[in-house]
Amino acid sequence: MTGKLNLAKKDFVSDQEVRWCPGCADFAILSTVQKVMPELDVPRENIVFVSGIGCSSRFPYYMNTYGMHGIHGRAPAIATGLKMARPELTVFVVTGDGDGLSIGGNHLIHALRRNIDLKILLFDNRIYGLTKGQASPTSELGKRTKSSPYGTVDRPFNPLTIALGAGATFVARSVATDTAHLATVLRRAAQHKGAAFVQIWQNCPVFNDGAFDSWAERDVRDEALIKLEHGKPLLFGKAKDKALRTGAGFSLEVGGTDGAVVHDEMREDLALSMALAALEPPMPQPMGVLRAVSRPTVDALAREQEEEAARKQAPDLEGLLRSGDTWTVEAQA
């Protein structure tokens, strides 16, 4: 039990049977989310999970909170309306790489640009799971899938650079196999006031098994990943003996620990977070919070406008109907 409300993980488990494939990494994410929820100390009835369509988007059915399983790609828009109508609610969005970056890409970037106070969790398995294994916008170039038997010819998106480019005030990455790290990142995202974007690498054992093995597996991850900590030097490697340093021409390069760049997630400009986000293997992949800055949220601003308007002029329906030029026709004698 945690917090004033004495909530426990089990309070967030719904009575619905979870229907993902055995071994799907979505289970680990679900369990971690359910575990983190009590720590937020928000009454269950004030929490809403909104999703689109995909394996990942079945998520709301399994959370014992309010929830909406929406339509493909539109969860950020549904959640925006909900949050603007009810700013006091805690609203999570669960989406997939196809849902959030293909069909719903437009809604995702606009939700981020507006800085609406939503926690957007993008389950990235680099494949279309629910439709049984087509290439997605995060599938690596040349990937062979059912829809690309000769390998894909279109380049993938980098979800982090998109989120940063769209103006997200909170951008982070984690992976389903490291639930302790995931829990930390989810906690941070939940505490952020504004649009929080979290990319979660999620293995799909059925259609894209091992997509993250070469860097997220236990035996390689110390070398292949770099865990970001605010105010700390960017170190990685089992012995923390390697560092990211500024290289020639605005680049980050791997070197000794002496010249390590110190991570600053609160920098106003995007230079560091973008440089980190854009790192591709064999460079270490950033894990954790890349950016966390504070900006007014659109839900709060809109509500302020309404309250300000009501202060200036009390709502008066009769007056509204009668506004403008009116005239009266008298009864005929």
Partner: protein, 626 residues
Amino acid sequence: MSGSSPSRAPRDIDHAVVRFAGDSGDGMQLTGTEFTREAAFQGNDLATFPDYPAEIRAPAGTTAGVSGYQIQFAAHEVYSAGDQPDTLVAMNPAALKVHLADLKKGGLLVLNEASFQPADLTRAGWKSNPLTDHSLDGYRLIQVDFDKLVTHACEGLPGLGAKDVQRTKNFFALGLVFWLYSRDTARQEKAIHERFAKKPEIGEANLRAFKAGYFYGETTEAADAPWHIAPARLSPGTYRNVMGSTALALGLVAAAQKSGLRLFFGSYPITPASDILHELAKHRQFGVTTFQAEDEIAAVTASIGAAFGGALGATASSGPGIALKTEALGLALMIELPLVVIDAQRGGPSTGLPTKTEQSDLFQAVYGRNGESPIPVLAARSPADCFEVAFEASRIAIEYRTPVILLSDGAIGNGTEPWKLPRADALPRIDPKLRTDPEGFQPYSRDPETLARPWAVPGTKGLEHRVGGLEKDSLTGNVSYDPLNHEKMTRTRAEKVNRIARTYPKLVPAGDPDGEVGVLSWGGTYGSVTQAVIDARASGIRVGHIHLRHIFPLPLDLPEVLSRYRRILLPELNLGQLRLHVRGQLGIETIGLNKIQGKPFHVAEVRSAIEALARSPGPVTHKELA
């Protein structure tokens, strides 16, 4: 000059149709609106029809850039903006080219002579000069050099460029037409002062131009003017001249207030729906949130999200945008939440005729979704009617937990008419019956009367539940793939919508309650059809008019009412969508009168169809009148 009496006593006439036409930059919409305002103040009944091009500023002086504004005002009740103008103001040769054919034979033409230079004529596509080649024979003419007269009028005014002076020409025209119809000028003079309060020198210039126009009429004693049109005997009450889009917006606000709900309006700009967004954006103090979304899909889904949160969700668009919202409407009807969707129809398909009117989205509204997806559909008939229909659409949406489509159109949305204002406290309360009791709560249990499910909004303890587009168990709302449950739910959703028809008022035909011809109409054809039926009855035909507000489900008494007429005429601005709908739903054959020109019906078109049907003795056959 206010109060100065015209040199000749005005002649009483009972109605007039005036059209102002010019370049889109000439300020014709403003001129028309100002003239309308005075007509409203003088107590005339009126109807207006603004007609403007899709391009904001098409090349100056071309026919593509001509913008028009028509008003019919009268000493009696008025139902349409009129078929043919009695007076046409044409600011340039292009306006003349576009509108001359509509002017009544013998009608009055007001022309700016200065704009008939050879280059102007070529640009407008005149092969020779209509002022001299007899094109204008048969019309009465007031041919004035607007350019020169406004220049004179503004002489000595400091701080004005020649351009500023020439921009006052529309007020010259307005002044002249004020004189023609012996309108009182005091209010307009005040209005000009107020409009240009921040630029007093421009205000003064426009005022002088307005007066110059008025005096020009007076001193030349043009035509057989001036005329006078007495106030109409409207039913007692307080009135306001209202645009359809404004009335729609106010209807939504009123419904939200009367139900104690917030109003959330998500929208993406599109002609002719944008003005609804513009209007609602002004009324934040009523708990109105307007959300300009990234596209129509976001607009509607955000409204659905807001409805889940306990707000009255609403959205508006035109045909192409409604097409984008289609999938989301399926979600709304599946999760059974209140949502009002306004479709301000325009010429289609595709981008079609964005600024012109049409009634061709009926199929899209009633039938345009995947799956068995019944959605109630209502249609507004006139600008003032928009208020009531928006209020009723909201009531149905809230009471039945369903998306509702409200069909309006470009002519209704932009048109204006006097609106007899309802009293806010006399508007009925709408009870949203939000569920708060966790005892026995089942998300898909139903009200025995309406079949509505409980509306349980986040924040309510003990009612946590999940909704979504997957088929729902008929009680728990959990995902269900059970075949019999799917059939049960499909039939229940249909039955719920069908039951709405029980709440309709009885259909009462206008005109004759039975007879030779019954005219069945819906939406914006109301005005032309009403007038046509009045005229046809005056000529001795036994004819009644049934106008539908409820397109789906159709009124239960419609078959009986239609059966009282020997044949049914169905005029529509499409190829026969209501005709096919009525045949499909009721098995009733009607005879179509169809026009697809981006313009409303002329009264005369409907009347001759009525006459033709009344005369022809043959059996009732379905056909489309050519």
